[in-house]
């Protein structure tokens, strides 16, 4: 059931330089992205729903923010938290790590670039960023969406199988993937709650 996604992708842009922020915002908007700009790594994390302690986001907001940001593009050189520090925090967060991250820098330093890519950055742009660079963003978003969708489908599948056992048999209660395979075979027999398959 492929649904056409009408709403534009949402990019969070992080840069401490005011003119650069204006430029990246325009570049992104011209390329049909919805844009939020912030001027620091810590503000970026705030926006993404991480306050202080990484793995315990403010839950309600966080769900919304997580769903809302499809890509993060950040300058490397920023006072306080650098783009690299921000990247690390994002990758360390179990619920933010799948958001693609692009690093921008005005310095062409191979060791810096490699470090970022190794830490999980999806792309590295040399500044000044150009309109033609924008076309590189969507593939990363789509790739992470496919992954997310696949993971959700997997999750739903194993859920629908395990919900069939609010279920007496003890051996199934410590449920793992392998259990759900077993459960499939038992479906017809066990289930008081689930919708029964058509029987004779």
């Amino acid at each position: 059931m492929a649904v056409a996604i009408e709403t534009p992708f949402h990019v969070l842009a992080v840069d401490d330089s005011l003119p650069d922020r204006k430029l990246i915002e325009r570049l992104l908007k011209t390329s049909s992205f919805q844009v939020t700009t912030v001027d620091s790594g810590s503000k970026a994390l705030e926006f993404l729903g991480l306050h202080g302690h990484e793995d315990s986001p403010i839950s309600v907001q966080a769900d919304q923010q997580e769903a809302a940001v499809n890509l993060i593009i950040t300058d490397y050189c920023m006072p306080g938290m650098t783009g690299y520090d921000l990247l690390k925090k994002i990758k360390e967060s179990s619920y933010l790590r799948d958001i693609p991250v692009v690093i921008m820098s005005s310095e062409n330093i191979p060791s810096r670039i490699n470090r970022c890519l190794e830490e999980g950055a999806d792309e590295f742009f040399l500044k000044p960023v150009r309109l033609s660079d924008m076309s590189k963003l969507k593939p990363h978003i789509l790739k992470s969406r496919c992954k997310e969708q696949y993971q959700q489908e997997q999750h739903l599948q194993s859920n629908s199988e395990s919900s069939n056992s609010s279920n007496p048999t003890n051996e199934n209660s410590s449920s793992t993937c392998s259990n759900s395979h077993k459960r499939k075979a038992n479906d017809d027999e066990i289930l008081p709650h689930a919708t029964r398959p058509k029987h004779s």
């Binding site: 570049l27 011209t30 050189c77 500044k127």
Partner: protein, 151 residues
Amino acid sequence: MDYSNLRRQAASMKKSLFDQGYLDEQFCQVEDLQDEASPNFVEEVVTLFFKDSGRLMSNIEQALEKYPRDFSRWDAYMQQLKGSCSSIGASRMKNECMSFRDSCGQGNVEGCMRSFQKVKREHAVLRQKLESYFQLLRQAGPAGAATRPVM
């Protein structure tokens, strides 16, 4: 009639800014982002640039005085300024920034001081030239905007 003359003047002014190396291709990239939705985009970015670069330059000025021979600090500040210049295509100013950074690398205080004076001068000149340019554009009317120079 009058307008087309003004437009010609604006185009000619822009061409000479490029010919004399004040601006480079990046400025065209910025212009390409201007459209009916954002009709004053270039001027807005340039205004932000001068505001931001003014602040950065005064940081450098202070640092030169307050932190003698602190080349890595001086360099870090100048790196920011250079990045800004680069973003709008301020080519001559960018080159002077690079000279300054070279002098930092060599531990050459005199060289830094000289370069910084040049950076300040280029900044002032560019500001004046671009102000004139935008003024002319405004007089020439909306159609006068964003014509690529014949390079």
